[in-house]
Symmetry: C2
Subunit: 98 residues, 2 copies
């Protein structure tokens, strides 16, 4: 699996908006061909901190995600709600395989 952990810090006044936008992105992204996981994680310790766990079959499927209407809508919708630029970390998903 081609995996990205996206770390996002959200302004306090937009946390509920951000969760709603991520729900839409999750629902559409998990219907993409090649998507393996698109999990939205909310920190137990820091209220404004979220991680998006995005796993795709391969790099091409992940790149296709970046061209979808739902990704572009999410990106533009949440841009001003972030307290700082989001940070992505790239991983090879070793297990499960494929």
């Amino acid at each position: 699996m081609h995996v990205t952990l996206v770390h996002v810090r959200v302004k306090a006044e937009h946390i509920e908006d951000f969760i709603a936008a991520c729900k839409l992105n999750h629902e559409a992204s998990t219907r993409e061909d090649g998507n393996r996981r698109f999990d939205i994680l909310h920190s137990k310790d820091e209220r404004g901190y979220f991680v998006l766990y995005e796993a795709y079959r391969d790099a091409a499927a992940a790149a296709t995600h970046k061209q979808t209407a739902h990704y572009l809508a999410w990106r533009d919708t949440v841009a001003d709600w972030m307290a700082e630029p989001r940070q992505g970390q790239g991983f090879d998903g070793l297990f499960p395989q494929g």
Copy 2:
């Protein structure tokens, strides 16, 4: 979902050993009742850096994992292979639900 991201830095000479131990832990953990994901991630940028993405139905299921023979075997097997103490981050998995 009850989610933990476990960040592990492994000594260079034990990377292959660590991957083999994590494969066993992955295979057994994903058969636990209440397990949702047990994904082993290997950084694309830092060869000794791994993340274990552990998602359970609830906190009780995650606590039960810590009592299993395969968890205890993994913990003891890899202890001396880590370059620094591992770090866990706790999250509520918002989506998918359940």
